[in-house]
């Protein structure tokens, strides 16, 4: 009960890194010397280690023959024997179709900056990368790698390329036609990208897999294009177009709304 002030975060991160074996030898040795002199460091380190031990005592799920059989059967690779599949494949097919209609849970935490490493700088980079990808696509023979107005085509195509895909709602009735999808490379990561068309204007929408947090759409600008950035559903979304701001905002609002109500 002696100390009242919390440890500086930098020290806390170092202690965690030590417990995780992520420090190089000289840094680890220096930290251990400090711990010998500063009881509060030692106390925090011990708590981290004890927490890790407590988690280590929890059960790890095992793969049993039933589950392996279910996976092999669902995927269609021949199993070793005929392990029973508990759930019917028709149920699975329904799930697969419903994939296209994933839901954006309707909460938005107000976004705030303050990442430890300075998100703003990183975000600026991404905005520029998205803008140049958009510009490149306008010059290319086709802005999409898979041309289809059907989300049932575009989503599985993206899944088959990179294993992830954002919701691709049909917004044609609202004036935004799904043109197709492509894979962009942003900061060395392959990311799914959707392209919509409004009159003669294309909207590039990059969906970078991201953390679980959510943020409201924020208007931005990059390379002379209007851009909207928001988070939700495990993606960091970047919509960019030469559309006027109100039209682009309208698109984003309709995309989000349609993703939310996609569950029918």
């Amino acid at each position: 009960m002696a100390e009242a002030r919390p440890l500086p975060e930098a020290d806390l991160l170092l202690l965690n890194a030590l417990a995780d074996g992520e420090l190089d030898a000289p840094t680890a040795a220096a930290l251990e010397r400090r711990m010998a002199d500063e009881p509060i460091l030692r106390k925090n380190y011990d708590a981290i280690v004890a927490t890790r031990e407590a988690l280590g005592r929890l059960e790890r799920p095992e793969i049993d023959a039933d589950f392996l059989g279910r996976i092999e059967s669902a995927v269609g690779v021949s199993g070793r024997g005929t392990a029973s599949v508990r759930r019917t494949s028709s149920r699975w097919r329904a799930d697969w179709r419903a994939l296209a209609a994933s839901v954006l849970v309707a909460i938005f935490a107000a976004g705030s900056g303050g990442y430890w490493l300075g998100t703003n700088i990183v975000s600026q980079d991404v905005a520029d990368l998205v803008a140049s990808s958009h510009r490149r696509s306008l010059l290319a023979a086709s802005p999409v790698d898979i041309a289809s107005s059907s989300r049932h085509t575009v989503k599985p195509w993206l899944d088959s390329r990179i294993g992830v895909s954002p919701p691709a709602p049909d917004l044609a009735a609202k004036g935004f036609v799904l043109v197709g999808g492509r894979v962009d490379v942003i900061r060395g990561h392959a990311v799914p990208t959707l392209v919509y068309r409004h009159n003669e204007h294309l909207i590039t929408m990059v969906a970078e897999p991201a953390g679980a947090e959510m943020s409201k759409p924020a208007d931005r600008e990059a390379d002379g294009y209007n851009m909207v950035n928001w988070r939700g559903n495990g993606f960091d979304y970047w919509a960019i177009s030469d559309l006027e701001r109100p039209e682009l905002d309208d698109f984003v609002a309709r995309y989000i709304a349609a993703s939310e109500t996609g569950k029918k």
């Binding site: 919390p6 975060e9 991160l13 965690n16 995780d20 992520e22 925090n44 011990d46 708590a47 981290i48 280690v49 004890a50 927490t51 890790r52 031990e53 407590a54 988690l55 929890l58 059960e59 790890r60 799920p61 095992e62 392996l68 279910r70 996976i71 669902a74 995927v75 269609g76 690779v77 021949s78 799930d95 697969w96 994939l99 994933s102 839901v103 954006l104 849970v105 909460i107 935490a109 107000a110 705030s112 900056g113 303050g114 990442y115 430890w116 490493l117 899944d159 088959s160 390329r161 294993g163 992830v164 970078e208 897999p209 991201a210 953390g211 679980a212 947090e213 559903n233 495990g234 569950k263």
Partner: protein
């Protein structure tokens, strides 16, 4: 060695990591049944994606797919899943990543944490906001390095570190508190 058939590649790149996939999904979704559905969906996606290119690090690759599948599946079937306790979500939003004002001011004694029973620890993990929980799971249950966690979640390493630290602080406080009361 690696066959050219998708089936062989699935056996080489996915099957060996099913246990990791299930552990990640189990702690992400909170229960085994949902986790099995999520892993099945992830395996279908992985199988579809496996035909081309070298998969240099299959485990992080598969875990990233599991995570995407979990978000999609849970949003559809468990709409309340992302609704971590409201004020917790608000606090996270208001204070940003680095803030420590909302964190427990005192670290509990290690002894208190050691005495906690498994159920209390399990509940404490489940109660963590998902954005802290996923980092913790990948570190503690999947034994991924900071670099690998950053890749799976597509966030900077610094963010991995601060989230992991916050997750452990919250966990320690909640375990110790439970033991007290």
């Amino acid at each position: 060695m690696t066959g050219d058939q998708p089936e062989d590649r699935f056996r080489e790149f996915v099957i060996p990591h099913l246990k990791d996939a299930l552990a990640f999904a189990r702690w992400l979704t909170g229960n085994r049944d949902d986790a099995e559905d999520v892993v099945q969906e992830a395996c279908l996606k992985a199988y579809a994606a496996i035909g081309r290119g070298a998969i240099l690090r299959p485990r992080p690759w598969l875990l990233a797919i599991v995570r995407n599948a979990a978000f999609t599946w849970m949003a559809k079937n468990r709409p309340k899943w992302l609704l971590t306790p409201g004020d917790e979500m608000d606090r996270l939003a208001e204070t940003g990543e680095a803030a420590s004002s909302d964190m427990p001011a005192q670290t509990p004694e290690a002894e208190l944490i050691r005495k906690a029973d498994a159920a209390a620890v399990r509940d404490a993990v489940t109660a963590l906001p998902v954005q802290l929980r996923e980092v913790l799971i990948l570190r503690e249950f999947n034994d991924l390095s900071y670099r690998e966690i950053a890749d799976v979640l597509a966030i900077p390493i610094g963010t991995v570190m601060s989230r992991l630290s916050r997750a452990r602080l919250l966990l320690a406080a909640s375990i110790a508190e439970d033991h007290h009361g």
